[in-house]
Assembly symmetry: C2
Homo-oligomer: 323 residues x 2
């Protein structure tokens, strides 16, 4: 078995080419993705493109910043690293087809960690029929994972800049669960388990992006840094103002429980939390929202504030920035 | 001007979005690359693909391992980061069109470093008409740069696996210069300047890859880790043996000088050195080599050793591995 390896074996023991060979075996055992004419192992992968264009996105995850090895298993880091990149393609209204991974890691990292990571990564990709087609491994002081995802859209890609006054703001997918899970872990607890699991492994609504594009979404983004922060990106790029209506959110039971336990307003997890990767989109008024989408606000001409909550300024945390 | 900034300004001062905005200005000022329908700033870039396939490659550079900030200016790190990825596309016989960059860096990194890096990166890309179309920035303990390059081939991509007995092994581009420069810097010297410059900024022969593909090259690879190591990859993937003939190398004057100063055999820089990114390719017997290519060896049926030097085993350093 490709992933059976002594637990004391480090990347230094396995060596660069040993690691690449093991990763290659793992990848070969999973869905290769469509139209891969040549996968990992040469100077570049070769891909057959059926559509007239591709969409491409890159994200970087850093140990200690985006994940902690003592909180999240390697397999789940792999799932998450793939998910957040698949989600970027989803947010264009596309379907991801091919991904590459650059992995920088300490020489004393257990080799099993890299293999479990790869297995999680490949399995998340397989959810949408995408394949890991190439990458690079090298040594660094901490684990840094850089992922590039390539995909295709069947209709025009949905940008952040197309929202117009009168449009409806809608959300599809879990929101605030990951932030709730992080709050739980940060206090040394392990429950509600469903939130901890959501933190460890997001479940982006991969079919929702293409469905929204086909339904005529005017603008779209995924929530990686925080809901209000992402609403702010839509508003800024579209030159509009957007109001979020808190009455539209049905705060789920586990978030209510964490709110009670920690004294936090559970709505803060929803408005400020990131990393669940639901989709936010605007639709023209009168469009029937696709399955799974819920109206959570409205778009108006640019006013004094780009983003309001229930018609007023919001002074809670709105998201996450990286410096 | 996008790159005029106080030298004491750090990434933390500029902030994630401030940095992204500055990078965006820089990128907009350089060649955008062909067929970029949407560049940086959305969830993904959108690219028009004219050919029926794309080639894609990913490389990671780590501070302290692939470059030292006290030895190489940020601008040159940018040139080099682009060059090694453009070279991977070159080694398939393709032309790079689009690149993405993931940059992880300490919060106290001078913002000017990131901007100079970006400028160098974009200028190297412009040499082949390629454009920087997307990326990500985040915080880490050391600078880690992950680059993905996308390109197209006008004829079939040239793999590592096509060399056949009777083929000629040929080289195009400077080889051993970077290793010579590194040896110089490692001893605290700054000359021969031409070698130090070669270490800081490789000059891959970007036209040689497509020319070799059109001339019928049977296998190709770029020399990133060391010439004999790369010959070994060609031999292994093609199931052949390859002999390298040292008489074919015209050892350049600056390498002779470093050899004399350090007591090293200058041929070691050529046989074991990496990071110059010349191309190694095999051609069928009788094919006229394209301009700039020199015959340096020959391919035979798989014998006892995959790689020989002047018909015998070689016991010097053959290259670099990353763990």
């Amino acid at each position: 078995m490709a992933d059976a390896i002594d637990r004391d074996t480090t990347l230094a023991d396995l060596g660069e080419f040993g690691l690449i060979a093991r990763i290659g075996e793992l990848v070969a055992a999973t869905a290769p993705g469509e139209d891969v004419l040549l996968g990992p192992g040469d100077d570049a992968a070769v891909l057959r493109v059926r559509k007239g264009h591709v969409v491409v996105s890159t994200d970087v995850l850093v140990e200690g910043r985006h994940f902690r090895r003592d909180w999240v298993e390697a397999y789940d880091v792999g799932r998450r690293a793939a998910a957040q990149n698949l989600s970027d393609i989803n947010a264009m209204g596309g379907r991801a087809q091919w991904l590459t991974v650059g992995l920088a890691a300490p020489a004393d990292l257990p080799a099993q960690w890299a293999l479990d990571f790869t297995r999680g990564f490949a399995e998340e990709c397989a959810l949408v029929g995408a394949g890991l087609v190439g990458g690079d491994v090298t040594r660094a002081d901490q684990v840094v994972i850089a992922v590039t995802a390539l995909g295709a859209c069947t209709v025009s890609p949905v940008l952040r800049s197309g929202a117009a006054p009168g449009d409806v703001l809608a959300l599809c997918g879990r929101q605030g669960w990951s932030a709730g899970g992080l709050a739980v872990l940060g206090r040394g607890f392990r429950s509600p388990r469903v939130l901890v699991e959501a933190y460890r492994r997001p479940e982006p609504p991969y079919d929702a992006g293409p469905a929204a594009a086909e339904a005529g979404a005017t603008a779209m983004i995924d929530v990686s840094d925080g809901l209000l922060a992402e609403v702010g990106h839509l508003a800024a790029d579209s030159g509009v103002s957007i109001d979020v209506e808190t009455a539209a959110f049905d705060v789920p039971e586990p978030l209510l429980a964490v709110g009670q336990a920690t004294g936090a307003d559970p709505l803060q997890f929803i408005l400020g939390g990131g990393e669940d990767h639901p989709l936010l989109a605007t639709f023209p008024p009168g469009v029937a929202l696709p399955d799974g989408w819920t109206r959570i606000g409205s778009v108006s001409a640019r006013g004094d504030l780009p983003v309001t909550v229930d018609g007023a300024a919001y002074d809670g945390p709105t998201g996450w920035t990286h410096f």
